[in-house]
């Protein structure tokens, strides 16, 4: 295997940063800080997309990077912060049980993700594809976060982190999906966040809290 180029090394460092942020999210209690971490994740995505666009000379990836910058660093965090203010949950702390266990499960997921991506990365024609394992790990960690958290707001953050992992997988392994498809996905995510926002108010109106412990009446009986 030839020695990786400088840009590939930078890309792998960025991938590592993405994974690190995912772990930080898993252990973060404050909703406000979670949004900050989400912005960081978006920034890393923008940088990595720009890097791939520059090294592979793909103009459509520049568009994609701009779109990410606007959506993930600008609009979505702005909506989330606004929602937090309107709902008055800026200072909310979420009690987290068993952070060490959560971390261990997370580590297990990362190993699992690398194992799963191994056959694909083994075939890699570009160095770029080797980041697939990390992208999958980010996705699985976000899933773990959605499962482990009991607050509606945090679950949505997990959902967006999941989407970030998907986006990273798409840009680094395939130089991005075709532009039209990417636009469609971005639109779906944006509409999704709007609906989530509407939902927060409905949930609070009905249950007086965004704690999902209340949403457990529909059980099999």
């Amino acid at each position: 295997m030839p020695a990786p180029t400088f840009s590939a090394q930078v890309l792998q460092t960025l991938a590592g940063a993405l994974l690190l942020i995912s772990f930080a999210m898993l252990a973060e209690r404050r909703s406000r800080h979670l949004v900050t971490l989400l912005i960081w994740q978006g920034a890393v995505l923008v940088t990595s997309t720009l890097l791939v666009a520059a090294t592979a000379h793909l103009p459509h990836l520049f568009f994609s990077a701009v779109l990410t910058l606007v959506l993930k660093v600008g609009v979505l965090p702005w909506i989330l912060l606004r929602l937090m203010r309107r709902l008055g949950i800026e200072r909310d702390n979420e009690p987290l049980v068993n952070v060490p266990t959560l971390m261990l499960v997370g580590l297990g997921l990362v190993i699992f993700a690398f194992g799963l991506a191994q056959p694909v990365t083994a075939l890699a024609t570009t160095v770029i594809r080797q980041t697939l394992g990390i992208a999958l790990a980010v996705i699985l960690l976000a899933l773990l976060m959605i499962l482990a958290r009991r607050k509606a707001f945090t679950q949505v953050i997990g959902f967006l982190a999941l989407e970030n992992g998907l986006f990273f997988a798409a840009t680094t392994t395939t130089y991005g999906m075709p532009m039209v498809v990417e636009l469609g996905i971005a639109l779906d995510v944006l509409v999704g966040v709007f609906i989530f926002g509407v939902f927060f108010f409905h949930i609070r109106e009905q249950f007086d809290s965004l704690d999902l412990h209340h949403l457990e009446s529909l059980k099999e009986d």
């Binding site: 697939l132 999704g192 939902f199 409905h202 949403l215 457990e216 009986d221």
Partner: protein, 484 residues
């Protein structure tokens, strides 16, 4: 051209209803838009019968024997559900469960949902397929929580999170598929996402990547099919949303999701050179059948009961497609059609039954034949049809599935037979006292519209007796796609 109309009518309709929907005539407008869509689909079908498969818009959209009948079915059930929802939602408004603004949201989202499903069915681009499936989820989330009760918001949240996560996994699968295909079909162009191109080149795709992609696609879209153990959202969403929404979720959305899984399976089959995808479908299908059957016993809510029955039937279809081969695939396609028609008819009748009794709890619903004989008969005949009584079409398809299973996978036959018998006892035992028996419930404020119920059941009966030549030809050609 026809495809543009098919997708365009509901899209324009959604915008129109969102702008003007608060007026009194919105239900009629909704019916008219659905009728326009149905007529456009009819024109499309005529063209396909005359001239064979077509593709449009630079190959981004296409109609082949596999999706043509699903498009027709979707437009038909969409229209009859609109007809049913006209008096149903008026009664709900009269009972004070809905306001004008919510009705506007309902009508607009209903058309948007239809548009999303029609795009998902007609698109050739797997990326658009994903976008359309996500749009279908988003538009129905607000429909499930339409009543804004605690239970309905909980159901909608569960639906949103579970299906959102599921569909995210499907996106990862789509990305992997693209990774595998861009080497063969060229990156950066659309070609590597077009199903027809993938299908043509499936023999040369990298098996390990496609295998991994298929697992993600199956789990992702399978969540929306309601395959056990990923089915948790389904009974809640069906029970807590308005009945017309339950009818289109069960009758149409599950089919569309299964369609997405099957398109992916055809490619995976060709690339993998093994029957792994088939075995996975069989496993998920059988598990869903057994799981749903045993949960049927524990249901007290009429809509939950039939939601579990939907999981069971999606399991039967998934199992049939998993077995593969021309006969089983034919049976699976037929079962998609008859289940969709029957289950939506049952939800129509069950919705009016619940309105009459003022509750969805089955022990509160009694003596439907005395208050509204047409509702009682509709529910009874629909139940008999879904339980696989001859001469209804469900019998034909289940018979074909069972005989194929007996020949190819004898071990599965007793499991299927026992499940069907248990489901029969569970459902029939509960429906019988609801239809017969004594009641003092007052009649409904608006006469219920039972015409759709009997049209659907009539079609299922006709399909049970003989299948039209064009339809069986499509089934045969589509089943041929599943033969490697």
């Amino acid at each position: 051209m026809e495809i543009a109309l098919v997708v365009g009518f509901p899209l324009v309709g959604a915008a129109l209803l969102a702008l003007t929907g608060a007026q009194r005539r919105a239900p009629e407008l909704n019916v008219a838009i659905s009728l326009a869509t149905l007529l456009a689909v009819a024109a499309l079908v005529v063209r396909v019968i005359r001239g064979g498969p077509i593709s449009a818009f630079d190959e981004q959209f296409f109609i082949d024997p596999f999706n043509v009948f699903l498009v027709a079915l979707t437009a038909l059930v969409g229209f009859t559900t609109a007809v049913f929802s006209r008096p149903y939602m008026r009664i709900e408004a009269a009972h004070g469960r809905l306001t004008e603004r919510r009705l506007r949201l309902y009508h607009s989202m209903y058309q948007l949902f239809m548009a999303a499903m029609l795009v998902a069915l007609t698109t050739n681009n797997l990326g658009f397929l994903w976008v359309a499936m996500e749009a279908a989820t988003l538009s129905t989330v607000l429909l499930v929580s339409l009543y804004r009760t605690r239970a309905s918001i909980e159901a909608a949240w569960k639906y949103f999170i579970l299906c959102g996560v599921g569909i995210a996994l499907a996106l990862f699968g789509t990305i992997l598929l693209y990774v595998a295909a861009e080497g063969q079909l060229g990156g950066n162009g659309m070609s590597a996402l077009l199903w027809t191109h993938l299908d043509a080149a499936k023999g040369q795709l990298e098996p390990t990547v496609i295998g991994l992609a298929f697992v993600f696609l199956l789990v992702g879209y399978g969540t929306k099919v309601g395959l056990a153990p990923l089915h948790n959202w389904l009974p809640d969403a069906h029970a807590e949303g308005p009945t017309p929404v339950s009818a289109v979720l069960s009758g149409l959305l599950l089919n569309v999701a299964l369609y997405a899984v099957l398109r992916c399976k055809i490619i995976a089959d060709g690339a993998l050179h093994s029957d792994l995808p088939g075995r996975m479908l069989m496993g998920f299908g059988l598990l869903s059948v057994v799981w749903a059957t045993f949960f049927l016993w524990r249901q007290r809510d009429i809509k939950r009961l039939f939601a579990y029955s939907s999981i069971e039937h999606m399991g039967i279809m998934t199992f049939a497609f998993g077995m593969g081969g021309p006969v089983a695939s034919f049976a699976g396609l037929l079962h998609m059609t008859v289940h969709s028609l029957t289950k939506s008819a049952i939800f129509f009748a069950a919705g009016h039954a619940a309105q009459t009794a003022g509750t969805q709890r089955m022990d509160g619903i009694r003596g439907l034949l005395a208050t509204h004989p047409s509702v009682g008969w509709g529910l009874m005949l629909g139940t008999l049809a879904i339980l696989g009584m001859p001469p209804f079409g469900v019998f034909t398809s289940e018979y074909l599935v069972l005989t194929t299973a007996m020949r190819d996978h004898p071990w599965a036959t007793p499991i299927l037979l026992v499940s069907l018998a248990v489901a029969f006892a569970a459902i029939f035992g509960r429906v019988q006292p609801m239809v017969f028996g004594e009641t003092q419930a007052p009649a409904l404020p608006h006469p219920p519209s039972l015409l759709p119920v009997f049209v659907h059941l009539g079609l299922v009966l006709a399909l049970g007796i003989s299948i039209p030549a064009a339809l069986s030809e499509w089934y045969r050609l589509a089943a041929h796609l599943f033969v490697r």
